[in-house]
Protein backbone atom coordinates (compact mmCIF):
# COMPACT_ATOMS: atom_id res chain seq x y z
CA UNK A 1 0.00 0.00 0.00
CA UNK A 2 2.64 2.44 1.12
CA UNK A 3 4.80 1.33 -1.71
CA UNK A 4 2.14 1.77 -4.34
CA UNK A 5 1.35 5.27 -3.02
CA UNK A 6 5.01 6.20 -3.26
CA UNK A 7 5.13 4.73 -6.71
CA UNK A 8 2.14 6.77 -7.75
CA UNK A 9 3.76 9.91 -6.37
CA UNK A 10 6.98 9.07 -8.15
CA UNK A 11 5.15 8.53 -11.40
CA UNK A 12 3.43 11.92 -11.03
CA UNK A 13 6.80 13.54 -10.31
CA UNK A 14 8.43 11.78 -13.21
CA UNK A 15 5.65 12.79 -15.55
CA UNK A 16 5.92 16.38 -14.39
CA UNK A 17 9.68 16.53 -14.82
CA UNK A 18 9.39 14.74 -18.16
CA UNK A 19 6.98 17.32 -19.48
CA UNK A 20 9.26 20.11 -18.25
CA UNK A 21 12.30 18.45 -19.75
CA UNK A 22 10.53 17.89 -23.04
CA UNK A 23 9.54 21.47 -23.62
CA UNK A 24 12.86 23.21 -24.28
CA UNK A 25 14.22 21.95 -27.57
CA UNK A 26 17.49 23.78 -27.07
CA UNK A 27 19.33 22.70 -23.97
CA UNK A 28 20.33 25.33 -21.47
CA UNK A 29 19.63 28.35 -23.66
CA UNK A 30 17.76 31.06 -21.76
CA UNK A 31 16.37 30.71 -18.24
CA UNK A 32 13.10 31.14 -16.38
CA UNK A 33 12.73 34.74 -15.19
CA UNK A 34 11.70 35.37 -11.59
CA UNK A 35 8.23 36.78 -10.85
CA UNK A 36 9.92 40.00 -9.70
CA UNK A 37 11.79 40.32 -12.99
CA UNK A 38 8.57 40.00 -14.98
CA UNK A 39 6.72 42.40 -12.68
CA UNK A 40 9.42 45.04 -12.99
CA UNK A 41 9.26 44.99 -16.80
CA UNK A 42 5.57 44.32 -17.39
CA UNK A 43 4.33 47.89 -17.77
CA UNK A 44 1.73 47.55 -20.53
CA UNK A 45 -1.84 48.65 -19.95
CA UNK A 46 -4.60 47.04 -22.03
CA UNK A 47 -7.52 49.01 -23.48
CA UNK A 48 -9.77 47.37 -20.88
CA UNK A 49 -7.51 48.57 -18.06
CA UNK A 50 -5.58 45.32 -17.67
CA UNK A 51 -2.34 46.10 -15.83
CA UNK A 52 -3.45 49.41 -14.24
CA UNK A 53 -1.93 49.64 -10.73
CA UNK A 54 -3.61 50.93 -7.56
CA UNK A 55 -3.59 54.70 -7.11
CA UNK A 56 -5.69 57.71 -8.02
CA UNK A 57 -5.63 61.36 -9.01
CA UNK A 58 -7.73 64.36 -10.00
CA UNK A 59 -7.27 67.13 -12.55
CA UNK A 60 -6.47 69.65 -9.83
CA UNK A 61 -3.63 67.47 -8.51
CA UNK A 62 -2.51 66.95 -12.07
CA UNK A 63 -2.31 70.66 -12.82
CA UNK A 64 0.47 71.24 -10.27
CA UNK A 65 2.47 68.26 -11.56
CA UNK A 66 1.89 69.42 -15.14
CA UNK A 67 3.26 72.90 -14.42
CA UNK A 68 6.33 71.46 -12.72
CA UNK A 69 7.19 68.63 -15.10
CA UNK A 70 5.45 69.01 -18.47
CA UNK A 71 4.84 72.67 -19.28
CA UNK A 72 8.42 73.32 -20.48
CA UNK A 73 7.82 71.16 -23.57
CA UNK A 74 4.03 71.14 -23.94
CA UNK A 75 3.30 74.79 -23.11
CA UNK A 76 1.84 76.47 -20.01
CA UNK A 77 -1.70 75.35 -20.80
CA UNK A 78 -0.98 72.22 -22.85
CA UNK A 79 -1.13 74.18 -26.11
CA UNK A 80 2.04 72.53 -27.43
CA UNK A 81 5.60 73.76 -27.87
CA UNK A 82 8.69 73.23 -29.99
CA UNK A 83 9.33 69.75 -28.61
CA UNK A 84 6.05 68.53 -27.18
CA UNK A 85 2.77 68.33 -29.10
CA UNK A 86 -0.49 69.97 -28.06
CA UNK A 87 -2.16 67.96 -25.30
CA UNK A 88 -5.44 69.76 -24.79
CA UNK A 89 -8.29 69.67 -27.28
CA UNK A 90 -11.67 68.06 -27.69
CA UNK A 91 -14.80 68.46 -29.72
CA UNK A 92 -13.42 71.01 -32.22
CA UNK A 93 -10.53 68.67 -32.99
CA UNK A 94 -12.91 65.76 -33.46
CA UNK A 95 -14.81 67.85 -35.99
CA UNK A 96 -11.57 68.74 -37.80
CA UNK A 97 -11.05 65.10 -38.81
CA UNK A 98 -13.19 65.48 -41.93
CA UNK A 99 -11.27 68.57 -43.10
CA UNK A 100 -7.93 68.94 -44.91
CA UNK A 101 -6.41 70.12 -41.60
CA UNK A 102 -7.15 67.29 -39.22
CA UNK A 103 -5.92 67.76 -35.62
CA UNK A 104 -5.22 64.45 -33.96
CA UNK A 105 -5.20 65.56 -30.34
CA UNK A 106 -5.70 63.27 -27.38
CA UNK A 107 -9.21 64.54 -26.65
CA UNK A 108 -10.29 64.79 -30.26
CA UNK A 109 -8.72 61.63 -31.65
CA UNK A 110 -7.38 59.02 -29.21
CA UNK A 111 -9.78 56.08 -28.79
CA UNK A 112 -8.71 54.86 -25.32
CA UNK A 113 -8.00 56.77 -22.13
CA UNK A 114 -5.81 53.86 -20.95
CA UNK A 115 -3.32 54.78 -23.70
CA UNK A 116 -2.76 58.17 -22.04
CA UNK A 117 -1.86 56.50 -18.74
CA UNK A 118 0.35 53.91 -20.45
CA UNK A 119 2.28 56.47 -22.49
CA UNK A 120 2.82 59.03 -19.72
CA UNK A 121 3.99 56.25 -17.43
CA UNK A 122 6.42 54.65 -19.89
CA UNK A 123 7.79 57.70 -21.68
CA UNK A 124 7.25 60.95 -19.81
CA UNK A 125 8.83 63.30 -18.93
CA UNK A 126 11.03 63.04 -22.00
CA UNK A 127 14.06 60.83 -21.28
CA UNK A 128 12.80 60.25 -17.70
CA UNK A 129 10.10 57.68 -18.47
CA UNK A 130 9.12 55.51 -15.51
CA UNK A 131 9.98 58.12 -12.86
CA UNK A 132 6.39 59.29 -12.19
CA UNK A 133 4.44 57.54 -9.40
CA UNK A 134 1.12 55.88 -10.22
CA UNK A 135 -0.83 58.64 -8.40
CA UNK A 136 0.96 61.29 -10.47
CA UNK A 137 0.16 59.48 -13.72
CA UNK A 138 -3.54 59.20 -12.76
CA UNK A 139 -3.56 62.91 -11.88
CA UNK A 140 -1.90 63.98 -15.15
CA UNK A 141 -4.27 61.79 -17.13
CA UNK A 142 -7.21 63.38 -15.31
CA UNK A 143 -5.77 66.85 -16.04
CA UNK A 144 -5.60 66.23 -19.80
CA UNK A 145 -9.07 64.67 -19.89
CA UNK A 146 -10.70 67.42 -17.81
CA UNK A 147 -9.08 70.31 -19.69
CA UNK A 148 -10.21 68.66 -22.93
CA UNK A 149 -13.80 68.56 -21.70
CA UNK A 150 -14.05 64.78 -21.47
CA UNK A 151 -14.35 64.36 -17.69
CA UNK A 152 -15.32 66.75 -14.89
CA UNK A 153 -12.72 68.69 -12.90
CA UNK A 154 -13.47 66.69 -9.74
CA UNK A 155 -13.65 63.22 -11.31
CA UNK A 156 -11.20 60.81 -9.70
CA UNK A 157 -9.21 58.66 -12.10
CA UNK A 158 -8.17 55.21 -10.87
CA UNK A 159 -7.91 51.64 -12.17
CA UNK A 160 -11.72 51.32 -12.19
CA UNK A 161 -12.81 54.72 -13.56
CA UNK A 162 -10.13 55.30 -16.22
CA UNK A 163 -11.04 52.41 -18.55
CA UNK A 164 -14.68 53.54 -18.40
CA UNK A 165 -13.95 57.01 -19.76
CA UNK A 166 -15.71 57.34 -23.12
CA UNK A 167 -13.30 59.05 -25.52
CA UNK A 168 -14.90 61.28 -28.17
CA UNK A 169 -13.44 59.36 -31.13
CA UNK A 170 -13.90 55.90 -29.59
CA UNK A 171 -16.01 54.73 -32.54
CA UNK A 172 -13.91 56.47 -35.19
CA UNK A 173 -11.77 53.46 -36.12
CA UNK A 174 -12.26 50.54 -38.48
CA UNK A 175 -12.48 47.66 -38.18
CA UNK A 176 -14.19 48.09 -34.82
CA UNK A 177 -13.95 44.45 -33.75
CA UNK A 178 -10.45 43.53 -32.60
CA UNK A 179 -10.81 40.01 -33.98
CA UNK A 180 -11.43 41.45 -37.46
CA UNK A 181 -8.15 43.40 -37.50
CA UNK A 182 -5.80 40.69 -38.82
CA UNK A 183 -8.50 39.27 -41.14
CA UNK A 184 -8.16 40.70 -44.65
CA UNK A 185 -11.50 39.23 -45.72
CA UNK A 186 -13.43 40.77 -42.86
CA UNK A 187 -11.70 44.08 -43.56
CA UNK A 188 -12.91 43.90 -47.15
CA UNK A 189 -9.39 44.15 -48.54
CA UNK A 190 -8.97 43.72 -52.26
CA UNK A 191 -5.60 43.17 -53.93
CA UNK A 192 -3.82 44.34 -50.78
CA UNK A 193 -5.87 47.51 -50.44
CA UNK A 194 -8.15 47.74 -47.43
CA UNK A 195 -11.05 50.18 -47.67
Amino acid sequence: MRFSRLLAAAIVLLAASASLAQTPTYSNVGRTPTKEEIQAWDISIGPDGKGLPPGQGTSKQGEAIYTAKCATCHGAAGEGGKIGPRLIGGKADLESLTTIRPARTIGGYWPYATTIWDYIHRAMPRNQGGTLKADEVYALTAFILAKSGIIQENDVMDAQSLPKVQMLNRNGFVPQKFSDIPDEKKRGCHEGVCP
Binding site: G30, G46, I83, P102, Y119, V174, F178, I181, V193
Partner: protein
Protein backbone atom coordinates in the same frame (compact mmCIF):
# COMPACT_ATOMS: atom_id res chain seq x y z
CA UNK B 1 13.13 78.97 -48.12
CA UNK B 2 16.06 79.56 -45.80
CA UNK B 3 19.12 80.52 -47.84
CA UNK B 4 21.62 78.82 -45.59
CA UNK B 5 19.71 75.58 -45.84
CA UNK B 6 19.44 75.98 -49.59
CA UNK B 7 23.20 76.39 -49.73
CA UNK B 8 23.64 73.28 -47.65
CA UNK B 9 21.40 71.46 -50.06
CA UNK B 10 23.33 72.75 -53.04
CA UNK B 11 26.51 71.63 -51.35
CA UNK B 12 25.09 68.16 -50.91
CA UNK B 13 24.08 68.10 -54.54
CA UNK B 14 27.45 69.25 -55.82
CA UNK B 15 29.07 66.69 -53.57
CA UNK B 16 26.90 64.10 -55.22
CA UNK B 17 27.93 65.44 -58.61
CA UNK B 18 31.58 64.99 -57.66
CA UNK B 19 30.79 61.42 -56.79
CA UNK B 20 29.80 60.88 -60.39
CA UNK B 21 26.06 61.48 -60.41
CA UNK B 22 25.91 64.17 -63.08
CA UNK B 23 26.29 61.72 -65.87
CA UNK B 24 28.11 62.95 -68.93
CA UNK B 25 30.34 65.54 -67.24
CA UNK B 26 33.71 65.15 -68.93
CA UNK B 27 37.18 66.34 -68.15
CA UNK B 28 40.24 65.48 -70.15
CA UNK B 29 42.31 62.55 -68.91
CA UNK B 30 45.53 63.84 -67.35
CA UNK B 31 48.93 62.16 -67.35
CA UNK B 32 49.14 59.08 -65.12
CA UNK B 33 50.68 59.89 -61.76
CA UNK B 34 50.79 58.17 -58.38
CA UNK B 35 47.60 58.97 -56.42
CA UNK B 36 48.05 60.38 -52.92
CA UNK B 37 47.68 57.91 -50.02
CA UNK B 38 45.05 58.82 -47.39
CA UNK B 39 46.21 59.85 -43.94
CA UNK B 40 45.15 57.60 -41.01
CA UNK B 41 45.73 54.58 -43.21
CA UNK B 42 46.46 52.31 -40.19
CA UNK B 43 43.18 53.26 -38.59
CA UNK B 44 41.28 52.66 -41.83
CA UNK B 45 42.76 49.19 -42.03
CA UNK B 46 41.00 48.34 -38.75
CA UNK B 47 37.52 49.61 -39.68
CA UNK B 48 37.05 51.04 -43.14
CA UNK B 49 35.47 54.27 -44.20
CA UNK B 50 34.19 55.33 -47.60
CA UNK B 51 36.26 57.68 -49.72
CA UNK B 52 36.19 61.28 -48.55
CA UNK B 53 35.14 62.17 -52.10
CA UNK B 54 31.79 60.48 -51.38
CA UNK B 55 29.47 62.50 -49.18
CA UNK B 56 25.98 61.15 -49.74
CA UNK B 57 24.15 61.43 -46.42
CA UNK B 58 20.80 60.97 -44.70
CA UNK B 59 18.81 64.20 -44.54
CA UNK B 60 15.63 65.29 -42.83
CA UNK B 61 12.55 67.04 -44.07
CA UNK B 62 12.62 68.72 -47.48
CA UNK B 63 13.76 72.36 -47.49
CA UNK B 64 15.28 71.84 -44.09
CA UNK B 65 17.99 69.21 -44.49
CA UNK B 66 19.97 70.33 -41.46
CA UNK B 67 17.25 70.27 -38.89
CA UNK B 68 18.37 67.00 -37.41
CA UNK B 69 22.00 67.91 -37.26
CA UNK B 70 21.57 71.19 -35.40
CA UNK B 71 18.33 70.97 -33.49
CA UNK B 72 16.75 68.63 -31.03
CA UNK B 73 15.86 65.33 -32.64
CA UNK B 74 12.49 65.70 -34.26
CA UNK B 75 9.61 63.44 -35.04
CA UNK B 76 10.24 63.58 -38.76
CA UNK B 77 13.26 61.34 -39.16
CA UNK B 78 16.16 61.06 -41.56
CA UNK B 79 15.90 59.62 -45.05
CA UNK B 80 18.08 57.31 -47.13
CA UNK B 81 19.72 58.95 -50.20
CA UNK B 82 18.10 56.61 -52.73
CA UNK B 83 19.21 58.79 -55.67
CA UNK B 84 22.79 57.69 -54.92
CA UNK B 85 21.97 54.02 -54.34
CA UNK B 86 23.37 51.09 -56.31
CA UNK B 87 22.32 47.47 -55.96
CA UNK B 88 19.46 46.45 -53.64
CA UNK B 89 21.12 46.74 -50.24
CA UNK B 90 21.22 49.92 -48.16
CA UNK B 91 24.45 50.53 -46.25
CA UNK B 92 23.52 50.27 -42.56
CA UNK B 93 25.06 53.71 -42.06
CA UNK B 94 22.49 55.16 -44.48
CA UNK B 95 19.42 53.18 -43.34
CA UNK B 96 16.57 55.63 -42.69
CA UNK B 97 15.80 56.59 -39.10
CA UNK B 98 12.43 57.37 -37.58
CA UNK B 99 12.59 57.40 -33.80
CA UNK B 100 9.71 59.77 -33.08
CA UNK B 101 11.95 62.36 -31.55
CA UNK B 102 13.84 60.08 -29.16
CA UNK B 103 17.57 59.42 -29.29
CA UNK B 104 18.90 55.87 -29.66
CA UNK B 105 19.87 54.38 -26.30
CA UNK B 106 23.47 53.34 -25.68
CA UNK B 107 22.98 49.70 -24.74
CA UNK B 108 25.68 47.35 -23.41
CA UNK B 109 24.87 44.06 -25.14
CA UNK B 110 26.24 42.11 -22.13
CA UNK B 111 23.56 43.67 -19.95
CA UNK B 112 20.71 43.47 -22.46
CA UNK B 113 17.99 40.83 -22.04
CA UNK B 114 14.99 39.67 -24.06
CA UNK B 115 11.99 38.62 -21.93
CA UNK B 116 9.19 36.48 -23.32
CA UNK B 117 6.19 36.21 -21.01
CA UNK B 118 2.43 36.55 -20.73
CA UNK B 119 0.27 33.72 -22.09
CA UNK B 120 3.09 31.18 -22.33
CA UNK B 121 3.76 27.93 -20.47
CA UNK B 122 7.37 28.84 -19.74
CA UNK B 123 8.39 32.49 -19.52
CA UNK B 124 11.96 32.84 -20.77
CA UNK B 125 14.71 35.40 -20.52
CA UNK B 126 17.64 35.40 -22.96
CA UNK B 127 20.98 37.14 -23.15
CA UNK B 128 22.14 38.27 -26.59
CA UNK B 129 24.87 35.60 -26.52
CA UNK B 130 22.26 32.93 -25.83
CA UNK B 131 20.22 34.07 -28.81
CA UNK B 132 23.36 33.74 -30.95
CA UNK B 133 23.65 30.08 -29.89
CA UNK B 134 20.27 29.29 -31.45
CA UNK B 135 19.72 28.29 -35.09
CA UNK B 136 19.91 31.48 -37.18
CA UNK B 137 18.68 32.70 -40.54
CA UNK B 138 19.83 35.57 -42.78
CA UNK B 139 17.26 37.20 -45.01
CA UNK B 140 16.99 40.32 -47.19
CA UNK B 141 14.09 42.53 -46.12
CA UNK B 142 13.11 46.12 -46.69
CA UNK B 143 11.78 48.24 -43.86
CA UNK B 144 9.53 51.12 -44.93
CA UNK B 145 7.82 53.77 -42.85
CA UNK B 146 4.10 53.91 -43.64
CA UNK B 147 4.44 57.69 -44.11
CA UNK B 148 7.02 57.27 -46.87
CA UNK B 149 6.30 59.39 -49.99
CA UNK B 150 3.63 61.46 -48.36
CA UNK B 151 5.38 63.17 -45.49
CA UNK B 152 4.14 66.54 -44.38
CA UNK B 153 6.13 68.68 -42.00
CA UNK B 154 7.39 72.14 -41.25
CA UNK B 155 9.11 72.27 -44.65
CA UNK B 156 5.93 71.52 -46.54
CA UNK B 157 4.33 68.51 -48.15
CA UNK B 158 6.99 66.45 -49.92
CA UNK B 159 4.72 64.97 -52.54
CA UNK B 160 4.04 68.46 -53.93
CA UNK B 161 7.60 69.82 -54.02
CA UNK B 162 8.95 70.19 -57.56
CA UNK B 163 12.52 70.08 -56.26
CA UNK B 164 12.02 66.81 -54.36
CA UNK B 165 14.67 64.13 -54.87
CA UNK B 166 14.11 60.38 -54.60
CA UNK B 167 15.46 60.77 -51.07
CA UNK B 168 12.76 63.31 -50.24
CA UNK B 169 9.94 61.35 -51.84
CA UNK B 170 10.93 57.75 -51.05
CA UNK B 171 13.81 57.88 -48.53
CA UNK B 172 11.87 56.26 -45.70
CA UNK B 173 12.57 52.81 -47.11
CA UNK B 174 15.82 50.85 -46.79
CA UNK B 175 16.85 47.24 -47.34
CA UNK B 176 19.23 45.13 -45.29
CA UNK B 177 20.29 41.56 -44.87
CA UNK B 178 19.00 40.80 -41.37
CA UNK B 179 20.48 37.93 -39.35
CA UNK B 180 18.85 36.50 -36.28
CA UNK B 181 16.55 33.93 -34.71
CA UNK B 182 13.06 33.29 -36.11
CA UNK B 183 10.60 34.60 -33.53
CA UNK B 184 8.52 31.44 -34.03
CA UNK B 185 11.41 29.39 -32.59
CA UNK B 186 11.49 31.49 -29.42
CA UNK B 187 7.70 31.43 -29.05
CA UNK B 188 7.63 27.63 -29.45
CA UNK B 189 10.32 27.37 -26.77
CA UNK B 190 8.14 29.41 -24.43
CA UNK B 191 5.01 27.41 -25.35
CA UNK B 192 2.24 29.76 -26.50
CA UNK B 193 -0.98 29.13 -24.60
CA UNK B 194 -4.40 28.69 -26.15
CA UNK B 195 -6.20 32.01 -26.35
CA UNK B 196 -3.12 34.10 -27.09
CA UNK B 197 -3.80 35.96 -30.35
CA UNK B 198 -1.38 38.91 -30.33
CA UNK B 199 2.12 39.71 -29.19
CA UNK B 200 3.09 43.01 -27.67
CA UNK B 201 6.70 43.85 -28.58
CA UNK B 202 8.54 46.53 -26.62
CA UNK B 203 11.87 48.34 -26.93
CA UNK B 204 14.35 49.64 -24.37
CA UNK B 205 14.46 53.17 -25.80
CA UNK B 206 13.49 56.26 -23.75
CA UNK B 207 9.83 56.01 -24.78
CA UNK B 208 9.77 52.19 -24.60
CA UNK B 209 8.00 51.97 -27.94
CA UNK B 210 5.48 49.15 -27.92
CA UNK B 211 3.58 47.56 -30.79
CA UNK B 212 0.82 44.95 -30.99
CA UNK B 213 1.32 42.36 -33.73
CA UNK B 214 -1.06 39.49 -34.57
CA UNK B 215 0.35 36.16 -33.36
CA UNK B 216 -0.06 34.61 -36.82
CA UNK B 217 2.43 37.12 -38.30
CA UNK B 218 4.82 36.64 -35.38
CA UNK B 219 4.80 32.88 -36.05
CA UNK B 220 5.06 33.31 -39.82
CA UNK B 221 8.23 35.22 -40.69
CA UNK B 222 9.18 37.67 -37.92
CA UNK B 223 12.82 37.69 -36.88
CA UNK B 224 14.69 38.72 -33.74
CA UNK B 225 17.69 40.22 -35.52
CA UNK B 226 21.14 40.86 -34.06
CA UNK B 227 22.89 41.24 -37.42
CA UNK B 228 22.51 43.76 -40.23
CA UNK B 229 24.54 43.54 -43.44
CA UNK B 230 27.20 41.33 -41.92
CA UNK B 231 27.78 43.18 -38.65
CA UNK B 232 25.85 43.92 -35.47
CA UNK B 233 22.64 45.93 -35.93
CA UNK B 234 23.54 49.64 -35.78
CA UNK B 235 22.65 51.59 -32.59
CA UNK B 236 20.13 53.78 -34.38
CA UNK B 237 18.58 50.63 -35.90
CA UNK B 238 18.08 48.84 -32.60
CA UNK B 239 21.41 47.51 -31.31
CA UNK B 240 21.66 44.92 -29.96
CA UNK B 241 18.27 43.43 -30.99
CA UNK B 242 15.62 44.46 -33.49
CA UNK B 243 12.33 42.78 -34.26
CA UNK B 244 12.03 42.52 -38.05
CA UNK B 245 8.45 42.09 -39.28
CA UNK B 246 8.87 41.59 -43.04
CA UNK B 247 6.69 43.59 -45.40
CA UNK B 248 4.75 45.37 -42.66
CA UNK B 249 4.75 49.07 -41.76
CA UNK B 250 8.07 50.17 -40.27
CA UNK B 251 6.50 50.87 -36.87
CA UNK B 252 6.20 47.11 -36.26
CA UNK B 253 9.97 46.59 -36.48
CA UNK B 254 10.62 47.35 -32.80
CA UNK B 255 14.18 48.54 -32.17
CA UNK B 256 16.16 47.80 -28.97
CA UNK B 257 13.79 44.86 -28.47
CA UNK B 258 13.54 43.91 -24.80
CA UNK B 259 10.17 42.30 -24.14
CA UNK B 260 7.56 40.20 -25.88
CA UNK B 261 4.25 39.80 -24.03
CA UNK B 262 1.78 37.18 -25.30
CA UNK B 263 -1.72 38.69 -25.03
CA UNK B 264 -5.29 38.14 -26.23
CA UNK B 265 -6.04 41.53 -27.80
CA UNK B 266 -4.22 44.48 -29.40
CA UNK B 267 -3.02 46.68 -26.54
CA UNK B 268 -3.73 49.99 -28.29
CA UNK B 269 -0.28 51.36 -27.61
CA UNK B 270 0.28 55.05 -28.33
CA UNK B 271 1.72 54.86 -31.85
CA UNK B 272 -0.62 52.20 -33.21
CA UNK B 273 -3.84 53.68 -31.87
CA UNK B 274 -3.15 57.41 -32.26
CA UNK B 275 -0.36 58.21 -34.76
CA UNK B 276 -0.47 55.46 -37.37
CA UNK B 277 -4.14 54.98 -38.23
CA UNK B 278 -4.93 56.47 -41.65
CA UNK B 279 -7.67 59.06 -41.75
CA UNK B 280 -10.30 58.60 -44.40
CA UNK B 281 -12.38 61.34 -46.00
CA UNK B 282 -15.35 60.61 -43.76
CA UNK B 283 -13.25 61.25 -40.65
CA UNK B 284 -13.01 57.57 -39.72
CA UNK B 285 -9.57 55.99 -39.45
CA UNK B 286 -8.24 52.67 -40.65
CA UNK B 287 -5.97 51.29 -37.97
CA UNK B 288 -3.49 48.39 -38.07
CA UNK B 289 -3.05 48.54 -41.84
CA UNK B 290 0.03 46.38 -41.36
CA UNK B 291 1.11 45.10 -44.82
CA UNK B 292 2.64 47.51 -47.35
CA UNK B 293 1.57 47.40 -51.00
CA UNK B 294 3.75 47.08 -54.11
CA UNK B 295 5.85 50.18 -54.78
CA UNK B 296 8.73 51.31 -56.97
CA UNK B 297 10.74 54.39 -57.81
CA UNK B 298 13.33 55.26 -60.45
CA UNK B 299 16.44 56.28 -58.52
CA UNK B 300 18.65 57.26 -61.46
CA UNK B 301 18.09 59.51 -63.23
CA UNK B 302 15.67 61.10 -60.75
CA UNK B 303 14.72 64.43 -59.16
CA UNK B 304 17.72 66.74 -58.69
CA UNK B 305 19.94 64.83 -61.14
CA UNK B 306 21.07 66.60 -64.29
CA UNK B 307 21.58 65.07 -67.72
CA UNK B 308 24.45 67.03 -69.24
CA UNK B 309 24.37 65.57 -72.75
CA UNK B 310 21.83 63.60 -74.76
CA UNK B 311 22.60 59.98 -75.54
CA UNK B 312 22.62 56.70 -73.65
CA UNK B 313 21.54 56.39 -70.02
CA UNK B 314 20.58 53.32 -68.04
CA UNK B 315 17.36 53.96 -66.13
CA UNK B 316 17.48 52.11 -62.80
CA UNK B 317 15.45 51.99 -59.64
CA UNK B 318 14.06 49.92 -56.78
CA UNK B 319 10.83 47.96 -56.41
CA UNK B 320 9.43 46.22 -53.32
CA UNK B 321 6.21 44.81 -51.90
CA UNK B 322 5.00 43.69 -48.49
CA UNK B 323 3.02 41.00 -50.27
CA UNK B 324 6.06 39.01 -51.44
CA UNK B 325 8.63 39.07 -54.22
CA UNK B 326 8.63 41.48 -57.16
CA UNK B 327 7.60 39.65 -60.32
CA UNK B 328 7.92 42.42 -62.89
CA UNK B 329 8.72 46.09 -63.29
CA UNK B 330 7.68 48.18 -66.28
CA UNK B 331 9.17 51.53 -67.20
CA UNK B 332 7.65 54.35 -69.24
CA UNK B 333 9.64 57.26 -70.66
CA UNK B 334 6.68 58.99 -72.30
CA UNK B 335 4.49 59.84 -69.35
CA UNK B 336 2.73 56.49 -69.21
CA UNK B 337 1.60 56.11 -72.83
CA UNK B 338 3.84 53.11 -73.46
CA UNK B 339 5.59 50.73 -71.07
CA UNK B 340 8.57 48.39 -71.47
CA UNK B 341 9.56 45.55 -69.18
CA UNK B 342 12.70 46.29 -67.15
CA UNK B 343 15.34 43.72 -66.21
CA UNK B 344 15.32 42.54 -62.59
CA UNK B 345 18.78 42.22 -61.08
CA UNK B 346 19.63 39.39 -58.68
CA UNK B 347 18.89 38.84 -55.88
CA UNK B 348 15.11 39.04 -56.20
CA UNK B 349 14.05 38.26 -52.65
CA UNK B 350 10.68 38.20 -50.91
CA UNK B 351 9.74 41.45 -49.15
CA UNK B 352 13.03 43.01 -50.20
CA UNK B 353 14.12 45.84 -52.47
CA UNK B 354 14.67 44.57 -56.00
CA UNK B 355 16.94 46.52 -58.35
CA UNK B 356 15.60 46.99 -61.87
CA UNK B 357 17.18 48.56 -64.94
CA UNK B 358 16.43 49.34 -68.58
CA UNK B 359 18.33 51.05 -71.39
CA UNK B 360 17.32 54.51 -72.60
CA UNK B 361 18.53 57.03 -75.15
CA UNK B 362 17.66 60.61 -74.30
CA UNK B 363 16.99 62.64 -77.43
CA UNK B 364 17.21 65.99 -75.64
CA UNK B 365 13.44 66.48 -75.57
CA UNK B 366 11.11 66.60 -72.56
CA UNK B 367 10.40 63.17 -71.12
CA UNK B 368 8.52 61.78 -68.14
CA UNK B 369 10.10 58.71 -66.54
CA UNK B 370 8.16 56.37 -64.28
CA UNK B 371 8.12 52.78 -63.10
CA UNK B 372 5.33 50.43 -62.08
CA UNK B 373 5.79 47.08 -60.38
CA UNK B 374 3.77 43.91 -59.91
CA UNK B 375 4.35 41.52 -57.02
CA UNK B 376 4.06 37.74 -56.98
CA UNK B 377 0.48 38.04 -55.69
CA UNK B 378 -0.34 39.76 -58.99
CA UNK B 379 -0.97 43.11 -57.30
CA UNK B 380 0.03 46.09 -59.49
CA UNK B 381 1.35 49.40 -58.15
CA UNK B 382 -1.37 52.03 -58.74
CA UNK B 383 -1.06 55.39 -60.46
CA UNK B 384 -1.90 58.45 -58.39
CA UNK B 385 -5.36 58.58 -59.99
CA UNK B 386 -5.95 54.89 -59.29
CA UNK B 387 -4.77 55.26 -55.69
CA UNK B 388 -7.11 58.21 -55.19
CA UNK B 389 -9.98 56.12 -56.54
CA UNK B 390 -9.12 53.21 -54.25
CA UNK B 391 -9.22 55.60 -51.29
CA UNK B 392 -12.47 57.20 -52.43
CA UNK B 393 -10.68 60.51 -52.88
CA UNK B 394 -9.78 62.79 -55.76
CA UNK B 395 -6.43 64.27 -56.75
CA UNK B 396 -7.35 67.57 -55.14
CA UNK B 397 -7.60 65.79 -51.79
CA UNK B 398 -4.02 64.49 -52.06
CA UNK B 399 -2.90 67.94 -53.20
CA UNK B 400 -4.49 69.95 -50.41
CA UNK B 401 -4.36 67.59 -47.41
CA UNK B 402 -1.84 68.97 -44.92
CA UNK B 403 -1.27 65.61 -43.28
CA UNK B 404 0.53 62.39 -44.19
CA UNK B 405 -1.28 59.97 -46.45
CA UNK B 406 -0.39 56.55 -45.06
CA UNK B 407 0.78 53.70 -47.27
CA UNK B 408 1.15 56.03 -50.27
CA UNK B 409 2.42 53.74 -53.03
CA UNK B 410 1.49 55.69 -56.17
CA UNK B 411 3.65 55.56 -59.30
CA UNK B 412 6.32 58.31 -59.14
CA UNK B 413 6.89 60.32 -62.34
CA UNK B 414 10.09 62.34 -62.88
CA UNK B 415 10.04 65.03 -65.57
CA UNK B 416 13.20 65.51 -67.65
CA UNK B 417 13.35 69.08 -68.97
CA UNK B 418 15.09 70.14 -72.18
CA UNK B 419 17.97 71.63 -70.17
CA UNK B 420 18.58 68.21 -68.62
CA UNK B 421 17.20 69.12 -65.19
CA UNK B 422 14.84 66.61 -63.57
CA UNK B 423 11.95 67.38 -61.26
CA UNK B 424 9.17 65.75 -59.27
CA UNK B 425 6.12 65.46 -61.51
CA UNK B 426 3.67 63.66 -59.21
CA UNK B 427 1.16 66.52 -59.57
Amino acid sequence: MNTKQTDRRRFLKSGAALAGLAVGASTGAGPLAAEPVPERIDELHLYGERSHFVDSVRIGSINNPERHLENEPSAFGLKTPLQDSVGMLTPASLHFIVSHGFDPPDIDPEQHRLLIHGMVDHPLIFTVDELKRLPSVSRFHFIECHGNSSTAGPGGVTRLALNATAQDTHGFTSCSQWTGVPLSLLLKEAGVQKGATWILAEGADPNKHSKSIPLAKAMDDALVAYGQNGEPVRPEQGFPLRLVVPGWQGINNVKWLRRIDLVDEPYMAMMESTKYPTLKLDGKSRWFELELGPKSVITRPSGGHHLSVNGFYEITGLAWSGGGAIRRVEVSTDGGRTWKEAKLQDPVARKAHTRFSISWNWNGEEAVLQSRCTDDQGVVQPSLAELAKLRGADLEYFRTLTANVGDFNAIQPWKVNRDGSIQNALF
